[in-house]
């Protein structure tokens, strides 16, 4: 892989990001009108409405607002929330790590276990284990995440109150340090489990299909003919050929899940990007929505770039140039 090819990929990613930044501005101006939303606010009289409009720069021409937005965004300043009046970057800084805890752990566990489950099913294709794992995976895959979460809550928080059903810490908790981390971990179990099961099932299904194809290839038959053990065939020939689609799905999912964790976060009252998004939508907090949209889009673009670059490592046949 040449440096030039890598630079080209990075440039393309940056160009996409620039487009997203511009689109972000016009999208939210097309779907909402912050000035009119203020007009029905019973807590602001007309003078206060006008002053607020001026303070937020909403009285300026659209292009002028766009210019301000671009220069602010370039400096990492997404403006202030209409609701909390805190800088959006602070709001994101509070919510993003919480979401990354969920997504990070769920993706890690699912990307380790999902392919294993898929491979185990493919290896025993047609047998009871394949049926059980495949049907189980398909069933999990097809379940709406919120429903799966509700089942887990019903079982492990209500019927048998083992895990907390929601929130990030016990209300009023004063724990710090390790005790706090333990408490957060305890509260993360059910949301992480929900997200993990959804992702795991998806990866298992993809891996099974991919591994099944690989196992039909001539090089596997040759491997058997020359006396390689099943383990050697799996490790040397099946897995390397079957993993590419899974890596693609994992990479793309990581970006999309940033936005897709909304239902999980809502269900478990987990204070992440999802919760921030829902509130911003409810309150028509356009600066926050713009920030969330930008973070999600950046996640997708970044993961696409990483997958692209990783491909050449995982499969020497793939050339970026």
């Amino acid at each position: 892989m040449s440096i030039r090819a890598v630079l080209t990929r990075i440039s393309l990613a940056l160009a996409t990001l620039l487009f997203v930044v511009c689109f972000n501005f016009f999208l939210f101006h097309a779907v909402g009108d912050a000035k009119q939303d203020l007009a029905r606010n019973p807590r602001l009289d007309q003078a206060a409405q006008l002053a607020t409009i001026k303070e937020r720069g909403l009285d300026k021409p659209l292009l002028s607002q766009f210019g301000t937005y671009l220069s602010q965004t370039a400096r990492g300043d997404f403006g202030d929330s209409f609701v909390s009046h805190r800088p959006v970057i602070e709001e994101l800084g509070h919510a993003l790590p919480n979401t990354l805890i969920l997504i990070g752990f769920a993706t890690l566990i699912a990307s380790l276990l999902g392919p294993m489950v898929g491979l185990a099913a493919a290896w025993r294709r047609g047998r009871w284990r394949d049926s059980a794992l495949t049907q189980g995976s398909v069933a999990l895959y097809s379940m709406p995440e919120f429903w799966l979460g509700m089942v887990l809550i019903s079982l492990f928080a209500t019927r048998f109150p083992i895990f907390p059903a929601g929130l990030q810490v016990e209300p009023g908790s004063t724990t710090t340090g390790l005790a706090h981390a333990f408490e957060v971990a305890k509260h993360a179990v059910l949301p992480v489990a929900t997200l993990t099961l959804s992702l795991l099932a998806q990866y298992a299904v993809v891996m099974r299909a991919s591994a099944t194809d690989a196992m039909r290839e001539d090089f596997v038959t040759t491997g058997r003919a020359i006396g390689l053990t099943p383990r050697q065939i799996r490790r040397r020939h099946v897995i390397p050929n079957a993993r590419l689609p899974v890596v693609t799905v994992i990479g793309l999912n990581f970006g999309f899940v940033l936005g897709g964790a909304i239902t999980i976060e809502a269900l478990f009252s987990w204070p992440g990007i999802g919760q921030l998004t829902v509130e911003a939508i409810e309150n028509k907090d356009y600066p926050v929505l713009q920030g969330v949209f930008l973070v999600s889009a950046t996640g997708v673009i970044l993961m696409n770039l990483i997958v692209d670059l990783l491909y050449t490592k995982l499969d020497p046949r793939v050339q970026l140039d």
Binding site: R40, T52, I109, R125, T158, P161, V169, L267, N283
Partner: protein, 622 residues
Amino acid sequence: MLAAARLSLVPLLATVAALLALAILGAAPAAAQDGDLRIGYDQPIDSINPLGQQNQISYQVTTLGYDLLLNYATKDGSPDLATSPARSFTHSDDGLVWTYRLRPGLVWSDGRPMTSADVAFTYRTVVQNQTNVLRGYLQDVKRIETPDPLTVRITLERPNARMDSMNVAILPEHVFGKLPLKKRDTAAIKLPTVTTGPFMIQSYDPTGTTVLVPNPRFRGPKPAVKRILLIRYLDRQGELRDILLGKLDMVYSADARWLRKVRSEPKIKAWISTRPGFYEIAFNSCPSGGAGTCSGPSKGAHVKVVQDPAIRQALAWGIDRPDLARTAYGGTSEPAYGLISPYYTRYFEDLSKDPQVGYRYDPDKARAVLAAGGWNCRSVPCTKNGTTAEFELIVRSNDPEGQSAVKRIQAWAHDIGIKIDIAVMTETALNNRILATGSKPGSYAPSYDAFYWQWVGDVNSPDLNLEVLRTGSSWQDSFYSNPEYDRLARGSLRTLDFAKRVDLMHQAERVAQRDLPYIPTVFSGAVVLTRTDTWHNWQPSPTAGSGSPVTTNWQQFVGLRPGPAPTAAGGAASSGGGGGGTNTGTVVLLVLIALGVGGGVGLTVGRRRTSSAGFPDDWTEE
């Protein structure tokens, strides 16, 4: 990563086992700590700064800490001198000079004395800061003086009856005075808050738990509550679950659909109360020549239909409000026959029995009104001079109850000969229709026929409920304009004699009911859930009728006592309730782990056995 992976389910089972072990080691739900009052809520606390709050829950939080100059009485929201920082107030005969005398010895929670300077500072901030949400209360203020540390004198441009019921929290000058005037409504407040009321905010987390603790220097009786935990839920079902499990003591804003479920729960009490607002069908009332901020209705609007008095009155007679309250609103709302909710016990007048503007359900009368108005109703929709009695009724997409309500209204309207086309759209889209740009700068040309929405007024007086129909009001959305109404509504605000003020309000209300720019359908309701086994002595407000144990003042929390209410025999009702089952859960978990590990071993052994037996043949072509 995958290359190194072994074909085994052991890691999966090990992970599950580890998670379960984590649960057993310490994940059982914590029992409530002594003295904690745990309140679940779902609307975000948008700010803890009283100058910048938009949401009801935010106001509730600060009410527990900051005093108003004249706090509201639990009984009916009237000025309560017994609990207020002001021990007396008077006004000049012309109502232009108001003098408030403070109680001596008042101190902030940090030990600094509270004086008239703090009151003056707060009011000046409200007047001078351009964007705070409290400006409306002090719009007529000309001058604020403090002749001595215990006296505040306010001079007004015009008389204003709300000077005894200003919902303006008194702020400490030595804290807020350090902030620039422009930022005083949006700046973050240092914690713990400095207050004079019974509580102060110790920590604020809009996405988690906000904690209030008692103010050690509070002048009144010490509350039994040691901490108020305001716990934010994004999923409302979680609130129901947790109060049933005993992990919450109160759900601040419960869903009406839960009532059936909690009715059979002996340890849960549901408080159904009327809110200070109403749902309404708003008609495009903008006259063709324009009025106020309206330059004339948009050309596409069916104003010939919706501005016809017969259509409005017929529809008003044709809506079965009690049925609407019972069905669409699950029995939590009351039928509305006026603009002033029964929540305002001192202001409310039941117009339902009024023969002219009562509009109790009477479809025959509705048909007669249409006939008298020249509408031919031999077929549906009725017609008049080539115009059909048909219009569009917009309802918000985020208002499921409203959508249910308008479907019923559509059926009733059809029954009397009016065709309603329902359109569901977002608030933004509806606002675009209401505030469509007019022909003059800064004017509107509303492009809707009618919409279904609601207003929620202030805690203490229904002025806002009337203000929304006044010509030129910034909250106008029907663009109704009637000088008679304007005179009465404004007059009520300028009249200090309470009886006369209320009478003017009722007159204005009757004019609005006669002209019907709005058809009020129900007075909106609220549902609060409390547990009966953890705290008792809840005080509903208003006392008469259906009150809520929260929203009016801090007294409602100071009076709370731990445990269940004492029974007539002198003992306490049995406590306990939710939250149990941990031991059972642990046993079940151990069984699950045993099964899981057993299964894992079985699968692993099976794998090895197959491998050692030779090359599997089950991955050949099917």
